[in-house]
């Protein structure tokens, strides 16, 4: 639901970086999105296309890398896969676990084509 706000933030981060690097065009954007971060990838793609329409990131390919949820059990110390925030530790039944992966919402890197003055 807040994918539009996320898309606008992504475009802003990308445009700032592109300007700093003297990019003529941004060809791709690599994101890391955790599976517990409540972000719909398809909605984010749709919103990104709209948000990027007028700038240097227009038409850039969006690569979304899913980061699986994982949690550390405070009772038995196991690190296990999490499908929800409140999954029970399969080894000892303790809950909730400390979330150590799956909440990421990051821009990793972008591919740019720089402009060179002739």
């Amino acid at each position: 639901m807040h994918e539009m706000a996320l898309a606008e933030s992504i475009v802003q981060l990308v445009e700032e970086t592109a300007a700093r690097e003297g990019a003529r065009r941004v060809s791709c954007i690599v994101l890391e999105i955790g599976q517990l971060a409540a972000v719909e990838s398809e909605a984010l793609r749709f919103c990104f296309a709209a948000a990027a329409r007028q700038g240097v990131a227009c038409g850039a390919a969006l690569e979304i890398r899913d980061v699986p949820g994982s949690g550390r059990c405070g009772a038995c110390g196991e690190t296990v896969a999490l499908l929800t925030r409140y999954d029970i530790c399969p080894a000892c039944g303790h809950a909730p676990l400390e979330i150590v992966g799956g909440l990421e919402m990051r821009v990793r890197e972008i591919g740019i084509e720089s402009s060179e003055e002739v």
């Binding site: 807040h2 539009m4 706000a5 606008e8 933030s9 909730p96 821009v107 720089s114 402009s115």
Partner: protein
Amino acid sequence: MCTVCGCASGETTIEGGMPVHSHDHAHEHGGHAHAHAPGIGAARMVQIEQDILSRNDAYAQANRQHFDERGIFALNLVSSPGSGKTTLLCKTIEALKARLAIAVVEGDQQTANDAERIRATGVPALQINTGKGCHLDAHMVGHAVEHLRPAEGSLFFIENVGNLVCPAAFNLGEHHKVVIFSVTEGEDKPLKYPDMFAAADVMLLNKCDLLPYLEFDADLAEANARRVNPDLTIFRVSATRGDGLAAWLRWIEAGLETQRARHAETVDQLKARIAALERQLAER
């Protein structure tokens, strides 16, 4: 979007038709300062490694600093629509306004109805309409703080847009998120919308006066909330009847007292530092 301060060029307005703020910097829309000849394009990857919400988080940090430097205690009230947030806020204000200075930011997609309800209690309130936006962000709240200028040592409420999903992700600089969950909803709401219950420090189970008429298991609702967040402080209340509000009010006053004491300590430390520097100068 404004690239200097991040103002969206969208539909967010602060009450009175004002845009979110007046820009004293020029927006650069379209066109570059100098043209690039289409030369040999060099393609490469550039690392960014930044959180998507890093800009919001920076605004939130600035808001938090503003609150802390003035001993202000800020609470962000979140819930689904219709949980009784505004009624609860009005009753809370009525009970505390004689003793405390209070200011309120109201977030809704449309109308200034809620800010008007708050102002009827006699405290300043500012409505932010987010248009199509589903949450308040820290930048909007920063501008609302500029307009409202909450007093030193005061209580600052942010009533977020009624939505259990998006406001969880957006830190506004508040000291605590307070989630309001009413007994006319389902007991499993904390499991359906775990992010908000995980982000909150306090949960108010509201409309408890209706429990005799409903098949709602309040203990199960609390257990579900604690399954997501075992550290939640929970109060059972009825905003309309006033049941249970005393404990919630005590919690607020204790929080404000801690915040004021921390502020006073900082001020005392600064005064002592100034006095020491003055002595050093006088001894020269």
